[in-house]
């Protein structure tokens, strides 16, 4: 067991640290969340290696499964702004943080090393076996010694659920506008009377992230869906395609497949 645990520790420990570093340096929040998930799964393995199979499972199910997914859902809601500039705005914050954290880590590690270097594990085998297993042992403790705290957590969870509902709830103060009302409003203001352009119109691609081209050849981001636009994932315009459109509109080129001249095109007049 001893040798295999060393391997597990080094592999999972390294991955956990890599995940933590990834959390810090990822530009996009979604990537950070995935890096955290990596760390957590590895920590679950380490829990199991530390004779805590129940906690390991809870870690995977609750943390990685529920909490991190909750994070991802929220990222979807907030997704438009989820990209994060890594340029520091507070003066000296980053360097102070790194230096302080570095000192903090050194202190902790040196303190731990100083205090625990000769420490030996008693091991949990006896404790786990006393009640017939790890889960039973924890349950025994929870419902005896920690009963009061356990009951208190139930109140905490209910309060948290209620709090989340109250905070996230948005009262609708007026009736939702119907489609007719919306279109009337658009007509009245004169903004966006016609439907938004479809992606890929006059372009070489009709993919969702490709902006449409206006008749004069300039790309319009209006055709790209808002989340894609918000993440900055809109595709750059294909310049050869643009040049071809220019040629076509100036009459120096013809559309080869159909052979129709531009003069026949009723839209060219307008």
């Amino acid at each position: 067991m001893e040798g295999s645990e060393v391997v597990v520790f080094w592999v999972c420990g390294t991955l956990a640290v890599i995940g933590a570093i990834g959390l810090i340096i990822s530009r996009k929040a979604v990537h950070s969340a995935l890096w955290v998930a990596l760390t957590m799964i590895n920590l679950a393995v380490l829990y199991i290696a530390n004779s805590a199979p129940f906690l390991g499972m809870v870690q995977i199910i609750v943390y990685t499964g529920a909490v991190m997914m909750l994070f991802l859902f929220v990222l979807m809601v907030v997704g438009v702004d989820s990209s994060d500039s890594l340029v520091e705005t507070l003066k000296g914050q980053r360097w102070a943080a790194i230096i302080l954290a570095f000192g903090f880590g050194i202190l902790l590690v040196s303190g731990v090393a100083n205090g625990l270097v000769e420490a030996n594990s008693v091991g949990l085998d006896a404790a786990n076996d006393a009640d017939g297993g790890n889960v039973q042992g924890i349950a025994h403790l929870l419902f005896t010694d920690y009963l009061l705290a356990f009951e208190a957590t139930s109140a905490l969870l209910i309060t948290a659920a209620l709090g989340a509902m109250v905070l996230a709830h948005r009262e609708r103060w007026q009736r939702a506008a119907t489609q007719r009302e919306l279109s009337e409003a658009r007509t009245r203001t004169g903004a966006g009377v016609v439907p938004l352009p479809n992606p890929g119109v006059y372009a070489r691609h009709n993919a969702v992230d490709t902006p449409a081209l206006l008749p004069d050849g300039t790309p319009t981001l209006l055709s790209v869906p808002e989340p894609v636009r918000g993440r900055g994932d809109a595709r750059p315009v294909d310049h050869s395609g643009l040049a071809e459109v220019d040629d076509l509109s100036s009459g120096t080129a013809a559309l080869p497949p159909t052979g129709r001249s531009l003069a026949d095109d009723p839209r060219a007049e307008s």
Binding site: L90, Q93, A96, L100, G103, F104, L107, G111, N114
Partner: protein
């Protein structure tokens, strides 16, 4: 001095003397508007009642033997704290008696006169109320049998004086004059209260008889201090140097007030105090000498001012100062002079009241204008006023046989007995008196008419001239009556003591010299003002200008007292603002400034706070490691 007689017989109602005017004042002041129509008669009647009762008391007193003429009436217990005791008790003796007579009789005449003088004043009722209040307080002052009660009367007359000087309070000058008189009197009152305290500490009592019986047992220094403090009180009340400045301004009050309070009675309270405290002053040569010096200085000061003032009442006020200077001088001479101080006080009370009422009568006929340079040739228009005024003038100048001659001559005589220099000063001052009184007489009643165009001088109504006639007769005969019929020297002797000393020069010669000096003064005045008087006051030399400005007393007071006080207050305010408030405000500003900088830490950025938390955590770990590691 043993109290020999309990109050009995005619003396059983001694308190009525004060009670009548006090009741009058109460009726008038609390009675409101419904007493407007008849209030002045009540006020006059109250004082007249007191006067009648005073005469009855005089007759009763004369019926007794000379040693038996002190009556004490205990009215109520007042202050009894441990050893300190003072009761409300009245003491009528020969000294009090003459004062009571002066106050009530002259007071009655002035009340009658005021009925006419204040006829058109809408506040006549209030005026009579104040006058009654004054009479009551003054009687309390002279009838008190202890210093504390005397002090009460002393403050009472001060209050009445304040109210009456400022009677026309809508005039700024009157209000300011009232305040000035009050404040300067306070300075004297400090001396009074300290003196009373010192008397109590020394003798364990404030009752006159107890104190005077023990007066020869106290040590000289204490007695000197008591004497000087009482002198300070007398200076304040009697407008003696250096507290003389208020009296001239006090002429802003109505003329009857000037006559009653600021000529005949209240201003002589200082003389009363010194004479009453005679046994104390007898023990201390130093204090008596200061009294004489103060009296002499004021005598000249007043004469000087009186010689230069053009307003008739201010000139008279200067004359009052001068004459009271005479009295103070005499009182400082000790038993030689007490009797003559009181004698002169009585005659002066009569003829100075006469002069003031005469001046009031003149002003009444001249639309209340005071400037003598605009008078002249009034004798034809106001015969009664002129004659009574002239009688009083001769009296004050000391022309025999007018009343002033007898009293003033006695003082000069006593002064020569005491010290030849003081005597010469007294004679010179008499010459000044001759000058300024003749000047007043000539400028007002003789020469050419220098009236403004709108003036139509006329004689005053009988209600005003009758008191003038009575006082005029009094000016002629009071001196002789008191001296030959009343035997004032022997009358007062049991209270004040009396002694005479022989002079190298016979008295007749002295009288002749004095008379010559007075006549010289008068002749100079006639020579200067008989022919012509400039309507506008000429610029005059330095001395004239100084006297016209009351010897710059206001400027001197300003320099000595007012400005240093201002300066002190300002520096204290400065110290308060900069040092005290500086420390308080400075610490507040320091904390405020510090907070202003510290709050910059509250940037609102969560991550800055988190950084601070991490720093704190590092510190905690460091401390834990440092504590635990070794």
């Amino acid at each position: 001095m043993e109290v020999t007689t309990a109050a009995g017989g005619a003396f059983a109602y001694l308190w009525l003397l004060i009670g009548f005017p006090l009741a009058g004042a109460a009726i008038l002041l609390f009675g409101g508007k419904r007493t407007n129509r008849w209030g002045h008669y009540v006020g006059t009647l109250a004082v007249v009642a007191s006067a009648v009762y005073a005469v009855i008391l005089l007759l009763a007193l004369m019926g007794r033997s000379a040693e038996d003429r002190t009556a004490v009436q205990h009215i109520a217990d007042w202050v009894f704290i441990n050893k300190f005791s003072a009761s409300i008790a009245l003491q009528l003796d020969q000294l009090s008696m003459v004062f009571v007579l002066l106050i009530t009789i002259v007071g009655s005449l002035i009340h009658v006169y005021s009925i006419g003088y204040m006829k058109d004043d809408p506040d006549r009722r209030r005026f009579f109320g104040f006058l009654n209040l004054f009479v009551a307080a003054m009687l309390l002052l002279v009838l008190a049998d202890n210093y504390l009660l005397l002090y009460a009367g002393w403050e009472g007359v001060g209050l009445a004086s304040f109210l009456l000087i400022g009677f026309w309070q809508y005039k700024n000058s009157a209000a300011a004059a009232a305040k000035k008189a009050f404040v300067m009197n306070r300075i004297g009152d400090i001396g009074m209260s300290l003196g009373i305290m010192l008397i109590f500490v020394t003798f364990g009592s404030v009752t006159f008889s107890t104190v005077f019986d023990q007066a020869d047992q106290a040590n000289d220094t204490t007695m000197t201090w008591i004497g000087l403090l009482l002198l300070l009180a007398a200076c304040g009340k009697s407008a003696q140097f250096p507290l003389q400045a208020w009296l001239l301004d006090a002429m802003e009050g109505p003329t009857p007030v000037s006559a009653l309070i600021h000529a005949a009675t209240m201003v002589t309270a200082g003389v009363y105090l010194i004479v009453r405290s005679g046994p104390i002053f007898d023990q201390t040569i130093a204090a008596s000498t200061v009294v004489v010096i103060i009296g002499t200085i004021t005598m000249f000061l007043g004469a000087f001012i009186g010689s230069a003032k053009d307003e008739i009442k201010k000139a008279l006020a200067g004359s009052t100062m001068s004459q009271i200077g005479y009295m103070i001088l005499a009182a400082g001479l000790g038993p030689v002079g007490y009797v003559f101080a009181i004698f002169h006080l009585l005659t002066h009370g009569v003829f100075k009241a006469n002069l003031f009422l005469g001046a009031g009568s003149v002003m009444h006929g001249m639309k209340n204008r005071e400037n003598m340079r605009r008078y002249g040739a009034l004798r034809a228009a106001m015969i009664v006023t002129w004659l009574s005024f002239m009688a009083a003038t001769f009296a004050i100048m000391g022309i025999p046989p007018f009343s002033g001659f007898w009293s003033k001559d006695d003082i000069i005589h006593a002064a020569f007995e005491h010290n030849i220099i003081i005597g010469i000063c007294a004679v010179l001052a008499a010459g000044f008196t001759g000058f300024y009184m003749t000047r007043m007489l000539v400028m007002t009643f003789f020469g050419k008419a220098r009236w403004e165009d709108d003036q139509h001088p006329h004689e005053s109504p009988p209600v005003m001239t009758i008191p003038l006639i009575i006082l005029g007769i009094g000016s002629i005969f009071t001196g002789m009556a008191l001296l030959f019929w009343g035997n004032i020297e022997t009358w007062l002797e049991p209270v004040t003591g009396f002694e005479t000393r022989e002079l190298a020069v016979p008295a007749v010669v002295l009288e002749a010299i004095t008379l010559v000096v007075v006549l010289i003064g008068a002749a100079i005045a006639i020579a200067m003002y008989r022919r012509s008087v400039a309507v506008e006051a000429p610029k005059g030399n330095v001395l004239v200008r100084a006297a016209r400005n009351s010897m710059y007393d206001d400027a001197i007071n300003d320099t000595i007292a007012v400005r240093p006080t201002y300066w002190l207050s300002r520096s204290l305010v400065w110290a308060d603002r900069s040092v005290i408030d500086g420390i308080v405000g400075g610490s507040a500003a320091f904390v405020g400034g510090l907070s202003g900088r510290m709050r910059r830490l509250q940037s609102g950025f969560v991550r800055s706070y988190a950084l601070a938390m991490l720093g704190g955590a590092v510190l905690v770990v460091v401390v834990m490691l440092l504590v635990r590691l070794p």
